[in-house]
C-alpha cells in the first residue's frame, strides 16, 4: 500500500486533518499503515543530493570508526555498552547506509532507521565533543530525521506536533484568542498580589519581547504570570506579541524543515512588527535552539542571527540579578542541597554554563549547591531530549534512558533539582514518577518569586 490515511508523506496542514490524526488513539492505525508505506527512493536520493552538504558528507567519510564516541553516549552506557548504541555505528548504519545505497532502501530499513533516529539519539551533541575529528552525530541525526519525515517515517506524536505548528503556529492547539485571553486572565489573577501588574500585548518598541512555550499557556499559565511578575518587579519595559509568541519547535524534533521555517518566521515577523530591543525566551532549551541558534539559517538570514538580540531566560535572570533589577532576600536563599540540570541545547550548544552558575551563586546559600557529575558542557542529556519524552512508541527506551539522570541526581544527594528547560523538567518529573527517588524539581521562576524582594512601592496596600 503506498500511502496510508494517517501515515503518509503529506504533512498535516489543516485543523481537520490534525483532529483526524489525533483521533487515531496512540497512533494504532498510523503505525499499522507505516508497515506498508512505500519508500519514494527517487525522491529520497534527490533530496540527499540537494541537501546533504559537504559537512555531513565529510563527517561520514572521515569517521575513523575509532569508537571514542561510544563512552560519550549515555544511551550506549545505559544499554550495557551494546555496540549498536555506539554513535558512529548508529549514524553509519542509517544515514551512511542510505547514502551508500543512493537511497535504495526499503520499508523495513526505514522503520528501523526511524527507531534509531528517535529512540537511540536525543540529538544532545555530546558525542561531537569527544570525537577526535569533531564529528557530531546529533547534527547528522537531525538531518536524517528530515529525510525520514519527508518519507512519512516519523513517530505519530511528532507528526501531530509538527502539524500543530503548521495549523496553530504553536506546538499545541492554542489559538491567538486563547493566548491573548490567557494573558489577560493571568494579569487579572495575579494583579491582586502585585498591584499594577500587566501583561502588555503588542506594545511597540519595548525593551523586551517575551516568547514562551504553548504548554505553559495550555497547562500551567502560572509560568506566564511568574514571568510577568519578575519583569514587573525588575521594572522592565516589556511586551508579548499577539502573534509569534511561541518559541518552541516540535517540527525541529520531527524533522519537518518546512514547518521549522514557517514557525520561526512567525516569531521573526513579530520582532519586525513590534521592533523590540531584545527578545527573551522562556525556560526552554530546544525553543532557544530553534528560534535563536538554528532559526536564522532556516529563515535564510545571511548573518546567521535573529532580527534582534535574543536571550535565553537564564541570561535575563543573571543580568537582572547582577544589575540589581531583581534583588534576592538573603534570608530566603535556598538552604538545602540543590543541584542544577544543564540543558544540552543552551549549555553545551551555546556555552551558557557560567551564566547558570552565576544565578546559583545568588539564589543558593554558599555551600548548598552541588554539581552533578559530569556537568556543564559535559553533562548528560536529561534522557528525554530531542522528542524522546513525547513518543509513546518508544516509552520503554525513554524510561531506561532516564536512569542516567536519576543516578546523577542521586549521587549529588540533593532533593531539589533546578531545571530551567521544559524537556529536562519533564524528564526529571517523569523519572521521579517512574523511579520514585523522592526529589522535587523546579523551573527558576517559582523559586525566584519566593525569594525576590518586592520593592515597597509595588507591594499591595491592604
Amino acid at each position: 500500500m503506498p500511502e496510508g490515511k494517517f501515515c503518509n508523506k503529506v504533512p498535516v496542514n489543516t485543523e481537520e486533518e490534525l483532529k483526524a490524526l489525533l483521533g487515531d488513539t496512540g497512533g494504532k492505525q498510523y503505525y499499522e499503515e507505516m508497515k506498508h508505506l512505500d519508500v519514494d527512493r527517487d525522491k529520497l536520493w534527490a533530496t540527499i543530493q540537494n541537501t546533504c552538504k559537504s559537512r555531513i558528507r565529510t563527517w561520514l567519510e572521515i569517521c575513523a570508526h575509532c569508537g571514542m564516541c561510544a563512552d560519550s553516549c549515555f544511551l550506549y552506557l545505559i544499554n550495557d555498552c551494546d555496540p549498536v548504541q555506539v554513535p558512529a555505528y548508529k549514524i553509519q548504519s542509517t544515514l551512511g547506509e542510505i547514502i551508500r545505497r543512493k537511497g535504495d532502501v526499503d520499508n523495513a530499513f526505514m522503520r528501523k532507521t526511524m527507531e534509531v533516529a528517535w529512540a537511540k539519539c536525543t540529538c544532545c551533541n555530546r558525542c561531537g565533543m569527544y570525537c577526535p575529528h569533531g564529528i557530531d552525530m546529533g547534527i547528522m541525526f537531525g538531518y536524517l530525521r528530515g529525510l525520514l519525515y519527508g518519507q512519512g517515517f516519523v513517530p505519530w506524536e511528532l507528526k501531530i506536533g509538527a502539524g500543530m505548528h503548521r495549523v496553530y503556529r504553536a506546538q499545541m492547539d492554542v489559538t491567538q484568542e486563547d493566548w491573548v485571553e490567557t494573558c489577560e486572565w493571568m494579569a487579572e489573577e495575579w494583579e491582586e498580589d502585585y498591584p499594577g501588574l500587566t501583561i502588555p500585548v503588542d506594545k511597540p518598541d519595548a525593551d523586551i519581547m517575551y516568547t514562551c512555550n504553548a504548554r505553559e499557556v495550555k497547562h500551567y499559565p502560572e509560568d506566564l504570570a511568574e514571568a510577568a511578575v519578575l519583569f514587573h518587579l525588575a521594572g522592565e519595559n516589556w511586551t508579548v506579541p499577539s502573534e509569534g509568541w511561541e518559541e518552541t519547535s516540535l517540527c525541529m524534533f520531527a524533522g519537518d524543515w518546512e514547518a521549522c521555517k514557517m514557525q520561526v518566521l512567525h516569531v521573526y515577523d513579530a520582532m519586525d512588527r513590534l521592533k523590540p530591543k531584545r527578545m527573551v525566551g522562556t525556560e526552554c532549551g530546544h525553543a532557544h535552539r530553534a528560534t535563536v541558534i538554528e532559526g536564522p539559517y532556516w529563515a535564510g538570514r545571511d548573518d546567521g542571527q535573529p532580527p534582534v538580540e535574543c536571550l535565553h531566560y537564564v541570561e535575563w535572570v543573571a543580568e537582572a540579578l547582577r544589575e540589581g533589577k531583581l534583588k534576592i532576600d538573603p534570608a530566603k536563599r535556598i538552604k538545602e542541597p540543590v543541584t542544577l540540570q544543564d540543558s544540552c541545547n543552551y549549555i553545551r550548544n551555546q556555552g551558557l554554563k557560567e551564566v547558570t552558575r552565576e544565578i546559583m551563586s545568588y539564589m543558593v546559600e554558599p555551600g548548598y549547591f552541588v554539581e552533578m557529575n559530569p556537568n556543564g558542557e559535559h553533562n548528560y542529556c536529561c534522557g528525554g531530549g530531542g522528542g524522546f519524552n513525547g513518543i509513546g512508541l518508544f516509552r520503554p527506551q525513554r524510561n531506561k534512558a532516564l536512569i542516567t539522570k536519576r543516578d546523577q541526581i542521586l549521587n549529588t544527594g540533593a532533593k531539589l533539582v533546578i531545571a530551567p528547560c521544559h524537556n529536562c523538567w519533564d524528564a526529571i518529573r517523569d523519572l521521579e514518577e517512574e523511579y520514585k527517588i523522592g526529589i522535587r524539581w523546579s523551573f527558576l521562576k517559582p523559586l525566584l518569586i519566593d525569594m525576590v524582594i518586592v520593592p515597597d512601592h509595588l507591594k499591595p496596600k491592604d
Binding site: 483521533g23 486572565w185 519566593d450 491592604d462
Partner: protein
Amino acid sequence: MFKTILFATTATEACDHSARTAFQIAKQYDAELTMLHILGVPSRGYSQMVRDVKTGEAVNVDNEYRAWVVEEMKTYYAHQLESYGRVKLDVIEGHPHREILRYLRKKPVDLAMLGGPTGGEDDSVYKKVVAGSTMHRVAKHAPCPILFVARQAASFWGGISNIVFVTDFSRASDAAFEYAARMAGSVSGELHLFHVVDISSMQGGMVMEQELIEARLREARSQIRRHYVKKLGAFRDYSVDVWEGLPYVEIVKFAREKQADLLIMAHSTREKDPESVRLDSNMEQVIMRANCPVLSVNRPQPI
C-alpha cells in the same frame, strides 16, 4: 441565590460528602448543577498521554475515553442522578486547580464546590504534582464563592439559620462579610461575627501579657462594630465575639457552640507556595475540622 453550581469531583469516596451537599443545594434552589471531573494530569510533555487520576495509569485520552469516564461518573452517582435531573457532566484533562479556575472563568457560576482532598493516598496522582494544593489555589483565585465539605458531619445542608462569619480584617474578609450579611438577610437567619486573637506564638515561648491579650480582644470587638456592624443596617440578629487562641481551633469550637449551619470566611493568605502554607493554612484546617460546610469568599460578589 444559587442558580448555577459547579461541583468539581474526583468521583471517589473523598468527594461523597460534597456530592451529598451539592445535590441538596441544587434541589433546594432548583439550580443547574455541573459536575466536573478533571480526569488526568498531563504527564508526558507534548504527548497525548495523561495520567488518569483514578486508575493511576498513563492513558491516551480521546473522545471514547472521555465518554467512558462520563459513564463511570454516571454509575458512581446513579442514585443522586435519579433523584435530580438538572445535572450536566463534563470531563476535561489538565492540572486540577488550573482547569477548575479556567472553567469558572469561561462559565461563571453562583457557587463552586470542591470535593475533599485526595492527598492522603500515597500513590495519588494529584499529590506530588499539584495535588493537595488544589483546594488552596482554587480558593485563592476563584471569582465565585467556593463551598467546602470535608466531613460527613458537615454534609447536611438543611435550612440555614446560623451563619458564622470569621474575619481577619483583610480586604478579602470585607467581601466575605458582604456575602455573609446578604445571605443571613435572605434566609432570615442569625449572623455571628467572629474573630480570633492569635496567641499561638505563646507555644513557641513568646509569652503575651494578659493585659495585652485583653487589649487586643477589646480592640477587635471594637473593630468589628466599627467595620461591620454599622453596615448591617436594620438587621438585628447578629452577635459579636472575639476569642483568643489558636485560630482554627477556636473557629471550629465557636461554630460548634453556635450550632452553625455555615461558616463563611476569606482565604486571604499571600503565601505563594501552596505546599508551604498547607499545614499552616487556617482555612484548610477549618475545612478539615468543621462540622458544617465552609464557604470561602475572596472578592465582592454581584448581587
